[in-house]
Symmetry: C2
Subunit: 147 residues, 2 copies
DNA sequence: AAAAATAGTTGACTTTGTCAACTAAATGTC
DNA sequence: GACATTTAGTTGACAAAGTCAACTATTTTT
């Protein structure tokens, strides 16, 4: 295998790691840790979801998740009700407060991306998205292939 | 500002966050933490560098850095000598063992990227690199703009 | 010659994440 | 339908990662 493309991809990855770090920083100003914010995000996206599914999706330790959820319940962000079909399991969803919290996190993220796009023209923004989609398509890493 | 490109960029970022997580996993098998490995990487790249510069580059707390360096010195990966020009400062560099360690980490990273590129043709690899470069160019986020 | 700033270290602490053992319910097996 | 096995989630004990403030020793500024 040729060396050069590998080096270029590693350079991109290092750079984007930094970008992600910057994007995540707004979370430092929020009341939530990164893990909590992702949890809020995932529960919002799923609307109703079991802890076991979150474990699979997020590759997170179940004891850790259990404690994160406990905190989010205490803060009235997440509510838990018994699964109708499975007596061991619970269905998690966002409370109204949780929805509002999600909305705030979400629009903070949007604004942050917005600021980054500021200097670009409409056409450049489209280009950017095109390149990103192309990267995703070419490099369609299936997490499960690497576990 | 339009909503759609923002959502697409956020989707890309989430996806690439996962990719980076997978790429970082090989470090779990190494003797070094993520922070230590990055330190080894940065010191290698700079050849000689002061802790204060690392703090700036890596956005890392100075007490934390101090302890990481202490461990790397103990393990004979990094060596420290007094800066000729500044009596408070030290110049850090990799020992021979450090160089070897860097070499191992580095080729493990290369191999991992190599595996991801496996399914792609030579032409596709070039395409991929092209898209990545375009993203970097368009989105040339200067970390300092966001501090 | 102070005063202020910078380089790095240390102590005390918080946050984040992991591992193993456990309870309770569900599923598979004979 | 009783037993063994697996699955969902919780808890205790701990380890790793990261932060904050105070400190020493130099260097720079005024």
């Amino acid at each position: 295998m040729k060396k050069r493309p590998i080096q270029e991809i590693r350079a991109f990855t290092r750079w984007y790691t930094d970008v992600i770090g910057l994007l995540d920083q707004h979370l430092l100003d929020s009341a939530w840790s990164l893990a909590e914010a992702r949890l809020i995000y995932e529960i919002h996206a799923a609307r109703h979801i079991q802890a076991s599914q979150l474990i699979e999706m997020m590759h997170i330790d179940k004891s850790y998740l259990s404690r994160l959820l406990k905190k989010l319940e205490k803060e009235k962000i997440v509510s838990k009700k018994k699964s109708p079909g499975d007596g061991r399991a619970f269905l998690l969803s966002l409370t109204e407060k949780g929805q509002r919290e999600f909305g705030m996190l979400n629009s903070a993220s949007d604004e942050q991306i917005g600021r980054i796009l500021e200097p670009l023209s409409e056409a450049q923004r489209e280009e950017l998205v095109g390149h990103m989609k192309a990267v995703m398509q070419l490099l369609n890493v299936k997490p499960d292939n690497y576990e």
